[in-house]
């Protein structure tokens, strides 16, 4: 590292690394230099002139956002000349900016409003009429109000650089410049809404939050998005027990301010009109609403009866429920019901990876590693579509430290555009391309390997062996598909594995085996929809379903128990990289109960409550800490920030069941059952078109 540069800002001597921009150096030392167009992480624009500072021996004011520090440089940021310049800049920005703050959605959290308050002149000297352009709707979730735009081009850069989509551009010149979408009058993009978030004024507004409320009227609950496995933190704005918006402007959590369309908008499934709000029991072939006590009693009686005659239970856990719920469920099934027939929909081969890593120098990657790494190998995954945050991290790494990306997939993916090398291999045979890449990878200092569900079983072992043979630190990430898929594996929702990857002495039935078993006596499904794709072979099975909606599985059920979504409960979830994060309850939906409580109440009705312990998430987490290796992390730490769990504890000695693994391949606009009931996801044009973005681009060529 080069020697730091010593310079003076406002009479204070400060040190900064060579090449640092004056604005950054000042901010790092607690000196505020206002700016609109300068945005950490994106390219420099120097468009807004807000960051003008006085540099001694320079004839004019200098733009701090493009000025690198130099030895002996003397900068003044609060001189009268600078203050005047800021005032005039704001006066110019306001020449066409309408003063409709009372109706503007940004009012109260608007950077321009704050700046004018702090640095601006009280009155404008302009008497000319303001330019007016009609407001446009670009998509169901993005509105553009031209006159409010101050042309900082943050949205353009966020879309181009951050998302790699490039759906926004600038048309015209000078004061009549406008931001324009890629398809004439509408957007065809990821609909991630980052342009809305990053807009310092109310030029880009959200179609769902629009005119609903004002920022200070909401209570904000920081929780974890319940869709894909990336585990982005989303801060939900709640008013009157209704979730109004999701964003993450405070940059807390692993994802900073990144959110995809699902994290930002697709919380809306929670108050879908078809949401179940009362338990139901099948009476004369029809599901009839009943009270909770009656439904729970019925389930408990049936379960007790089946248990007494040594009947066969089949329990299917969820990819969305919390670690506490998963742990409590498997404990109840294994100890309470005395069955090992518990499983979940497996979407990635974490088990083989952990087994293969045992005794090697390889480790599991964190989401931060996906930004800090210098070389990436993506195997069999359409990252930008299926794992949007991981893809965002790798793109940022590529932009900021010229990371090299290698891609081996069966079809074209967006990463091809900036990959050093892209190789096409049929799904399942991706590792055949490894030798081809050996030379290129061996030349790099480190490597992060991300692989999708098509790389499983023996292929994972070969992959780890290949990584080991490179002789450099290699980190791995086995992609899974849903918000707590990883947690479900860790918590032992597996026929052959107990929590913490302890092999079961008497492995139970796996999910397909349960469905195919004609002698199954009871099937208990928690927030999963296995009967969507497959039939249930056993006619006599007593089916209990806990779900948010009347899914195909719930329609077959004998008892349906309405459960709470992730936004309605506390607990922890583990993301694709094994990072544990905390869910916080944002709202309550009438008639529902969290799955943990439902399982606990069934146990209570069966007289098993003393053995199972209290169904309080904090207490259950305490038990997880004591019994699941790698999860010994204090809850206050988890509440503060995501914590990496380290479940690598030697060999996982079980039969290879990787054949059961099936990637869900959810796109940006689908999310299993939850996606079906999200109005926003179903309203965007990209979803209606029914194609991935890559496919659309092909069709445009």
């Amino acid at each position: 590292m080069a020697d730091p540069v010593t310079m003076t800002i406002n009479g204070r001597e400060i040190q900064a690394a060579p090449g640092t921009l004056v604005i950054e150096a000042a901010r790092k030392n607690g000196i505020e230099i206002p700016s609109f167009c300068y945005y950490e992480g994106y390219s420099l624009q120097a468009a807004c002139r807000m960051c003008l500072v006085e540099v001694e021996k320079a004839p004019k004011l200098m733009v701090a956002c493009t000025l690198p520090v130099a030895p002996g440089m003397v900068v003044h940021t609060e001189s009268q000349k600078v203050k005047d310049a800021r005032k005039y800049t704001l006066e110019f920005l306001l020449t066409n900016h309408p003063l409709d703050c009372p109706v503007c959605d940004k009012g109260g959290e608007c950077e321009l409003q704050d700046m004018v308050f702090r640095y601006g002149a009280g009155e404008s000297r302009f008497t000319e009429e303001k330019l007016h352009v009609q407001e446009q709707q670009w998509s169901p979730v993005v509105f553009y109000d031209g006159p409010r735009c101050i042309l900082c081009f943050r949205c353009v850069r966020a879309c181009n650089e951050g998302m790699g989509v490039g759906a926004l551009g600038v048309v015209n010149r000078g004061s009549v410049s406008l931001i324009a979408p890629n398809h004439g009058d509408h957007l065809e993009c990821d609909e991630c809404g980052q342009c809305i978030d990053i807009c310092p004024v109310g030029a880009l507004t959200s179609g769902t939050y629009r005119y609903q409320t004002r920022p200070w009227e909401m209570e904000h609950t920081g929780t974890i998005c319940t869709h894909c496995s990336n585990g982005c933190k989303t801060t939900l704005g709640v008013r009157n027990d209704k979730i109004i918006r999701g964003n993450n402007r405070d940059r807390s959590g692993i994802n900073g301010e990144f959110l995809c369309v699902k994290g930002r908008y697709a919380f809306d499934f929670y108050d879908h009109p078809e949401r179940l709000q009362s338990p139901m029991i099948r009476v004369n072939g029809k599901l009839e609403p009943v009270s909770w006590s009656k439904a729970l009693k019925h389930v408990a009686e049936k379960f007790s009866e089946i248990k007494a005659r040594n009947g066969k239970f089949g329990v299917i856990g969820s990819n969305h429920t919390t670690n506490e719920e998963n742990f409590y469920l498997q404990k109840f099934v294994r100890q309470g019901l005395g069955s090992n027939n518990i499983d979940h929909k497996r979407t990635g081969d974490v088990v083989t990876l952990i087994d293969a890593l045992s005794g090697t120098t390889g480790t599991l990657a964190t989401t931060a590693d996906l930004y800090e790494g210098k070389t990436f190998l993506i195997l069999g995954a359409d990252l930008a579509i299926e794992q949007p945050f991981l893809s965002f991290q790798i793109r940022a790494s590529m932009r900021h430290h010229a990371a090299k990306v290698f891609v081996v997939t069966s079809k074209e993916v967006r990463e091809d555009a900036y990959a050093k090398k892209s190789i096409r291999k049929a799904a399942g045979s991706e590792i055949e391309a490894l030798e081809e890449l050996r030379e290129a990878l061996a030349a790099e200092s480190d490597l992060v390997i991300v692989f999708g569900s098509s790389v499983k079983g023996e292929a994972v072992r070969k992959l780890v062996a290949f990584g080991e043979s490179l002789g450099k630190p290699v980190k791995y990430c086995a992609l899974v598909d849903y918000s707590n898929s990883r947690g479900a594996v860790d918590m032992g929702l597996m026929a052959e594995l107990h929590p913490g990857y302890h092999p079961s002495e008497t492995p139970g039935m796996t999910l397909p085996e349960m469905l195919a078993d004609e002698t199954l006596d009871a099937l208990w499904v928690i927030n999963e929809n296995p009967l969507e794709a497959a039939g249930l072979a056993s006619d006599k099975a007593f089916v209990v379903v806990q779900d948010l909606f009347l899914t195909e599985t719930a329609q077959r059920a004998d008892v349906v128990l309405p459960s709470a979504s992730a936004y309605e409960k506390n607990g922890t979830v583990t993301n694709v990289c094994g990072e544990i994060q905390r869910l916080q309850k944002a709202v309550t939906v009438m008639g529902t109960k969290p799955d943990l409580e439902i399982i606990g109440l069934i146990a209570k009705e069966m007289g098993l409550a003393p053995a199972m312990g209290p169904w309080v998430s904090e207490t259950v987490y305490g038990e997880i800490r004591r019994s699941v290796k790698g999860y010994d992390i204090a809850l206050p730490l988890v509440a503060m920030a995501a914590q990496q769990t380290a479940p690598v504890n030697g060999r996982v000695n079980v039969a290879d069941k990787s054949a059961l693994i099936q990637g869900a391949h959810e796109t940006l606009f689908t999310s299993g059952t939850l996606g079906r009931y999200s109005k926003v996801l179903n309203s965007v044009i990209e979803k209606r078109a029914g194609m991935s973005l890559a496919a659309q681009e092909e069709s445009h060529v």
Binding site: P102, T213, R214, E217
Partner: protein, 167 residues
């Protein structure tokens, strides 16, 4: 003797003096108001029950900016906003107050809301007969506070959106 005479005249003078005040006041206009037999008179700036104003076209001035609710020290204003559409135009701006409640159980008539209002939509009227035996009637809705449509104004479209108001 002389003393008693002085007393008599002195007393008479005092009575006359006192009566002169009485007689003078009898002639002057009364200050006491004859409420409730007659309507009371108010100072112009009296802060009474709120009135939500309309503009010259009869549209509501309130654009649901929530500034009154933010300024309110007793937290008695509750607003739900909604967007004007081409079919249903309630206010002059893009947004209007779908629900606008003032809880007079809590209101302290401080006038901060009126001061905060950027569109002069909320004002203090002279209404004061708010007392009630039933506190639930003290929550005034938008309809209770809206000014009448001015004469000659093109009346606003009145059909309300489906879920308006029920709070």
């Amino acid at each position: 003797m002389a003393n008693s005479l002085t007393d008599v005249f002195g007393a008479a003078a005092a009575v006359a003096k006192g009566m002169s005040v009485t007689l003078r006041e009898m002639m002057s206009p009364t200050v006491t108001e004859n409420y409730p037999d007659e309507p009371p008179k108010f100072q112009e700036r009296f802060r009474g029950a709120h009135v939500l104003q309309r503009d010259e076209n009869g549209l509501e001035k309130c654009v649901a900016c929530f500034l009154c609710a933010a300024a309110c020290p007793s937290n008695c204003i509750y607003i739900e906003a909604a967007e004007n559409t081409e079919l249903v135009r309630i206010s002059g701006g893009e947004r209007f107050a779908k629900t606008y409640n003032i809880d007079y159980n809590r209101c302290i008539f401080c006038g901060y809301c009126v001061e905060a209002c950027p569109t002069d939509a909320i004002t203090h009227g002279h209404g004061f007969e708010i007392a009630s035996y039933n506190t639930s009637t003290l929550i005034y809705r938008k309809e209770d506070m809206l000014a009448a449509v001015p004469a000659g104004a093109k009346p606003p479209v009145v059909h309300e959106p489906a879920e308006a108001g029920a709070h």
